[in-house]
């Protein structure tokens, strides 16, 4: 069934048991909304030098947006900001592939499960909500630490 290509078991697992959920200390906080469906996320980034020390978040939304935030937390925490940005760009490219992309599992790990979501234009922004928030929050955190060189 076509639906199973979107709701991969990995996605449903992250949705039921999200990783890293809850707000903790951070260097920068952003609040992003998806005005068409009312999904919301408040996300904080804490940096330790050039390393993403923590990504914490409170969110409400559909399974796709919740699972995506959980996968984001898995993928970028512990990486450098630069490595995180590479992953973020790879994920963005996958989501914009209109069902054509498969994603590089070396880079995206569990996030390749979202490949099927890219076939559903209305749901792509659900998948991207937390990633755009992370990009925004990270830029803010970096702006407050201008000396960081990753």
């Amino acid at each position: 069934m076509k639906l199973d290509s979107m709701y991969q078991e990995i996605i449903l697992d992250h949705y039921r048991n999200p990783h890293g959920k809850g707000l903790r200390d951070g260097d920068a906080e952003v609040h992003h909304v998806n005005p068409t469906c009312g999904d919301e996320i408040t996300l904080r980034v804490r940096l330790d030098g050039a390393v993403v020390a923590d990504v914490s978040y409170e969110s409400q939304g559909c399974s796709i947006s919740q699972a995506s935030a959980s996968v984001l937390n898995d993928l970028v925490v512990g990486k450098t900001v630069g490595e995180g940005q590479v992953i973020q760009e790879a994920f963005l490219e996958l989501m914009q592939s209109k069902g054509q992309g498969e994603g590089d599992e070396e880079v995206l790990e569990d996030a390749v499960a979202f490949a099927g979501v890219s076939k559903y234009p209305a749901r792509v922004k659900c998948a991207l909500l937390s990633w755009m928030a992370w990009k925004d929050a990270t830029a803010k955190a970096l702006a407050e630490q201008p000396a960081i060189n990753d």
């Binding site: 469906c37 009312g38 796709i64 559903y120 749901r123």
Partner: protein, 429 residues
């Protein structure tokens, strides 16, 4: 109604008051569509927009194939015919809403424009209509954003105070503080006749009486009423009534504002341009009488003709019969929805004083996910906040799933929705 609810598809035929949907559905080409893996379309998103019967599509085609010209200008045959069709549509709207005069019917592009038009008229008006810093505006917490934001804008520009009726836990207007809300300072009370999110039908008479007692104007948003029930602007005793064509079988791009004639004469125009003038010099202009004073520029001519054809279609069936059909479907749908475990209806949990839009939440499954799994079965519902976010905030939910019915909806489609919701629960269970 029969009592058996254990399986789908066998209960609806016992409902009374249903229309001959087999015949009606043949008029709607889109309802023959088959989606995904051979699933027939089950269109339950009628509060967002309705589907269009062949008769409306043919009227649009005929207009463009035979009569297309700009209106009120040329002296050639096509210009006269196009003008007659456009103004004929105005006559049909006037009769449909029982307007005392056809000159009280203003064509707009949609209900949002109609509502914004009134807000702007009042912002620019002279006394006694002028909304200024001493004035108060009253709306309700169940309005569509299109009946909230124009008043927020007016309030910000003028300093007028914006007040609103709250909601009860049952999805009705809380009228307990009506005397504090509507006062001598109130210039305008604007509220929806039927909630687009909850389906609630509001107690017009109580609110209108109170507004009249303090000399406030009343604007009724009838967007969710005009398609579904008899709409009589004289019986409502409002000063303005707004609605849109595309929810009542007409094309998009055509809306209506009805207003009392003496008000339309007194109130200033909002948009300036061709058609709305009497004479123009480089220094100043005088304006055409209503309705043309409020219809600057080339209007949506074909769309108005389409609205006229839609009104003919609805009137041939009869609005009382359409209302009875939808009431029966709604009663059945409410009853069956309440059988679904963990389903909570947002709004009235009966069919009394409610229209055919039913919002609900299903456990902690997000409406987006509900809508996606229903779509896979060919069932089209709306998910989200339905441009009425304050209602979601009031009930502490981010969004709802909404099923909304119309004259072509069948009990079998209700059964399919219920089966679909059980499937959703299994999928995310």
């Amino acid at each position: 109604m029969t009592q058996s609810r254990s399986s789908e598809g066998h209960t609806g035929s016992a409902l009374t008051g249903l229309l001959d949907t087999d015949a009606i559905r043949k008029d709607f080409p889109i309802l023959q569509r088959v989606l995904h893996d051979g699933k027939p379309l089950i269109y339950l998103d009628n509060a967002a927009t309705s589907q269009k019967p062949r008769q409306v599509l043919e009227a649009l085609n005929a207009y463009y194939e035979r009569y297309n010209a700009n209106v009120h200008r040329g002296v050639h045959v096509l210009a006269e015919e196009a003008t007659a069709l456009y103004e004929g549509a105005r006559d049909k709207v006037a009769a449909f809403v029982n307007a005392p005069s056809r000159d009280e019917v203003i064509f707009t592009k949609n209900a949002s424009e109609s509502l914004n038009l009134v807000a702007n008229m009042l912002g620019w008006a002279d006394e006694p209509y002028r909304v200024d810093a001493d004035a108060e505006i009253v709306i309700t917490e169940m309005e569509h954003h299109s009946n909230i934001v124009p008043w927020q804008l007016l309030s910000q520009r003028t300093g007028a105070k914006l007040k609103w009726f709250g909601l009860t836990d049952e999805g009705r207007l809380d009228l307990s503080n009506i005397d504090e809300l509507i006062t001598e300072k109130t210039k305008i009370v604007s509220f929806t006749l039927v909630s687009n999110l909850m389906g609630t039908i509001n107690p017009v008479e109580t609110i209108v009486r109170k507004a009249q007692s303090v000399g406030a104007l009343v604007l009724i948003d009838a967007s969710q009423a005009a398609p579904h029930m008899v709409l009589d602007v004289q019986a409502l005793e409002a000063d303005f009534v707004a609605f849109t064509g595309h929810k009542m079988l007409a094309p998009t791009g055509i809306g209506v504002l009805w207003g009392r004639q003496e008000l339309l004469e007194d109130l200033p125009p909002f948009l300036g341009g061709g058609e709305m003038i009497e004479t123009v010099t480089m220094g100043s202009s005088t304006y055409a009488p209503a309705p043309h004073k409020f219809e600057a520029g080339t209007p949506p001519i074909a769309q108005a003709v389409g609205l006229g054809a839609a009104i003919d279609y609805l009137s041939n069936i009869g609005m009382e019969k359409i209302a009875a059909h939808e009431h029966a479907i709604t009663e059945y749908a409410v009853e069956r929805l309440l059988e679904v475990p963990e389903l909570r209806i947002i709004g009235p949990r009966t069919a009394v004083d409610r229209g055919a839009a039913i919002s609900f939440v299903l456990g902690d499954i997000h409406p987006h996910d509900v809508g996606q799994v229903l779509d896979e079965q060919g069932i089209a519902v709306r998910v989200g906040h339905h441009c009425a976010r304050p209602v979601c905030l009031r009930y502490g939910i981010p969004a709802t799933t909404r099923a909304s019915f119309y004259l072509y909806s069948t009990p079998a489609e209700v059964d399919a929705l219920i089966a679909g919701l059980h499937h959703v629960r299994n999928f995310f269970g």
